[in-house]
């Protein structure tokens, strides 16, 4: 079984640079998810691991072996495409058996593996059907089955669930999680747009932006300690409120002055900062609570209330004319549009970023 190691991987299409040096070490048996905005190079990176795109520069190894010039079929990988990419003229059985037949496996071995994969994915009743006679979810399971039959060391998924409807997406997501449990030795690399998929499936998440790795870490680590503004905004929904501020007294804790004369003491060390320096102050919507009394963090007018029952979202016009802040309060809250609300938060949940957008590390 095999881990995947990327060393300074770069990709350009002619003059267009798409990936600017990716370093990543995926351990054997790990489930790694690539997330990032559209066009940041997730698919390109995955396809380079698969061998479908050439590597412009850098070194890639799978299972300790450099694979830069190894063809896809000998990298020990299998890939599941967003569009399923089933062979339309072959039955489900033949779709799954194709790779094994190419590899000249014996008939009985092919049959054993295909039926085993069919069992795992509940495809047994459909083995004789053509892909066009299957539903979207069944097609995706066939695509996964085809990958399983190859018995790969590394599984690659490129947005495998994005063509499914919401309910099916949840069901298939859970199936993929189960599949991973059944194959603890198999490394999986998974590209998605969907934060929930990323947070629930991943051992580690790789956040990419414009061809660079922004942060690599466990899902909750990214949530609790984003290393920069990009990750802070990208992980979590609705995204973190970022409020411009200045450092009033650097040190530990730091005194931050927000606009409108308010200031707040944040338990984060800022030894490198100077007084009067610009900074950004971040707080997640779900960390905000309605303040009791005079001890509050932010004050504003409610411009919109979204009551979802389970939670209530308040859009609060911020202290400065910037974007409205969002507060996500549990349950049903008795606040109306145009009310003035005061919000506060547990100081331990606050985030602080320097002028360049890099986070001041939080204490553990």
């Amino acid at each position: 079984m095999a881990g995947v190691v990327l060393k300074d991987i770069r990709k350009s299409y002619g003059q267009v640079k798409v990936l600017h040096g990716i370093d990543l070490d995926v351990a054997e048996g790990e489930f790694v998810v690539f997330v990032g905005p559209s066009g940041c190079g997730k698919s390109t990176l995955l396809r380079m691991i698969a061998g479908l795109e050439t590597i412009t520069a850098g070194e890639m190894s799978i299972g300790g072996k450099v694979v830069n010039d190894v063809p896809p079929s000998r990298r020990g990988i299998a890939m599941v495409f967003q569009s399923y990419a089933l062979y339309p003229h072959m039955t489900v059985y033949d779709n799954m058996a194709f790779g094994l037949r190419i590899a000249h496996e014996s008939k009985s071995e092919i049959d054993r593996r295909v039926r085993a994969a069919g069992d795992i994915l509940q495809l047994t009743p459909y083995l004789d059907r053509l892909p066009k006679a299957l539903s979207g979810g069944q097609r995706q399971r066939v695509a996964i089955g085809r990958a399983i039959c190859r018995d790969p060391e590394v599984f690659l998924f490129d947005e495998p669930l994005s063509n499914l409807d919401a309910a099916l997406r949840v069901a298939t997501r859970i199936e993929i999680a189960k599949l991973k449990e059944q194959m603890p030795q198999t490394t999986m690399i998974y590209v998605t747009h969907d934060q929930v998929e990323a947070m629930t499936l991943a051992d580690r998440i790789v956040v990419l932006s414009a061809g660079r790795v922004e942060q690599v870490g466990r899902p909750l680590e990214l949530y609790e300690n984003p290393t920069n503004l990009f990750v802070a905004r990208f992980i979590g929904s609705p995204s973190m409120n970022i409020i411009p501020a200045t450092v009033a007294e650097p040190g530990d804790p730091t005194l931050i002055s927000l606009s409108a004369g308010r200031s707040v003491r944040v338990p984060i060390a800022t030894p490198s900062a100077k007084a009067g320096e610009a900074a950004s102050f971040g707080v997640r919507p779900e960390d905000l609570v309605l303040a009791k009394g005079d001890d509050y963090l932010l004050e504003g007018t409610v411009s919109l209330v979204e009551a979802l029952g389970e939670v209530t979202l308040l859009y609060v016009d911020g202290p400065v004319g910037a974007e409205p802040m969002i507060a996500k309060l549990p349950g049903i809250v008795d606040v109306k549009k145009n009310d003035t609300v005061r919000l506060s938060a547990d100081p331990g949940k606050l985030h602080l970023f320097d002028a360049a957008g890099k986070a001041f590390p939080k204490k553990r």
Binding site: P72, S73, F81, S83, A85, Y87, F98, G99, I102, R150
Partner: protein, 337 residues
């Protein structure tokens, strides 16, 4: 010139006007014949329904009439003629059919037609497919495609004239001006009279039709190949298939319907092959095919409408099933997926 343009334009306008007039008038007549009176809604809706049932027949009528006059009537007449003697006056029973079965030239034509059928559609489709795949991968592919498609624009007779120069043979001490003989001489061979070389000359004639039709096959198949999802090919690459396996096991099966349509379209064309044989050999040196034989018996020395009709019916009997299958396939292509 100008007066011709004006008069033909006038004819077109008058034609369109009369068509419009016909539709308008026939609809008016229909309304008069099936009036909708106020008061009784059930009778009114019945009349409207009847009108809707009659109207298509009214509007299609002229076209159907022309179809009967120009297609059905000739078929029936040919069928009847095939049982009459050379002048079409005396009933001779199946004598013309018996003649055909025993006639050496008729058998030769059938055999030649079968050879054309075996070679030309297969060759056109094969070359078309190979060229379509290869030109997709090179930067000058589109230029090559245009060049290969160009013969499509040349008439069969024109193409034959061009190929006459390729197969040209000059006797005696004269310099060879034919391209093929020039090549043969370049490699040290003796010039040949290609066109009168029995059996093989059939293939030299077929080459002309292949040259013309490969472009057609290429264009259609190229479009079909573009429709193959790229990911299925990538999935096959990951599954370990090589280029050859991807072509035969992934790409060709996905465009099978299109290949069948191209194949049968060319097959029908081949069954009707006439101009090339007429221009190149006129059926001499064992190159006779059914269409030319029919022509000879009808309009040339033969002057025998009975025998000619038999040959015409044989050609029709061969074309019809393929045509039906071809139309079915084409409908499936546009209907399915």
């Amino acid at each position: 010139m100008v007066s011709q343009l004006v008069s033909s334009l006038g004819v077109v306008i008058a034609g369109v006007f009369f068509c419009a007039l016909y539709y308008w008038l026939s609809d008016k007549l229909l309304q008069l014949a099936l009036p909708v009176r106020d008061g009784d809604p059930r009778a009114a809706s019945l009349a409207l329904n009847r009108r809707a049932a009659v109207r298509p027949w009214l509007f299609l009528g002229p076209a159907l009439l022309l179809l009967v006059v120009y297609l059905v009537y000739p078929v029936v007449a040919t069928f009847i003629l095939s049982f009459y003697d050379r002048s079409g006056t005396t009933f001779v029973g199946a004598a013309n059919y018996v003649w055909a079965i025993n006639d050496a030239q008729f058998r030769q034509s059938i055999f030649n037609n079968l050879m054309w059928l075996a070679v030309v559609p297969a060759a056109c489709t094969f070359f078309g497919l190979v060229i379509a795949v290869m030109t997709d991968r090179i930067w000058w592919g589109n230029i090559a495609k245009s060049l290969i498609f160009m013969p499509m624009a040349i008439s069969f007779v024109g193409a034959s004239v061009i190929w006459k120069f390729i197969y040209e043979y000059r006797g005696g001490k004269e310099a060879q001006i034919g391209l093929l003989n020039a090549i043969v001489q370049f490699f040290g061979g003796d010039p040949q009279v290609w066109i009168s070389m029995p059996f093989w000359n059939n293939f030299f004639l077929m080459a002309i039709l292949i040259w013309i039709q490969t472009g057609f096959a290429m264009v259609i198949l190229s479009a079909a190949l573009r429709g193959i999802p790229e990911e299925t090919v990538e999935a096959a690459v990951i599954d370990g298939a090589n280029g050859w396996q991807i072509f035969w096991k992934i790409m060709v099966p996905q465009i099978w319907g299109t290949i069948a349509v191209v194949w049968t379209t060319i097959t029908i064309l081949v069954l009707k092959v006439f101009d090339i044989v007429l221009t190149m050999t006129n059926g001499q040196w064992d190159t006779m095919v059914l269409a030319n034989l029919m022509f000879d018996w009808m309009f040339r020395g033969g002057g025998d409408s009975g025998r000619s009709a038999v040959i015409a019916l044989v050609i029709m009997a061969a074309v019809t099933p393929i045509m039906i299958w071809n139309i079915r396939q084409a409908n499936q292509q546009s209907g399915g997926h």
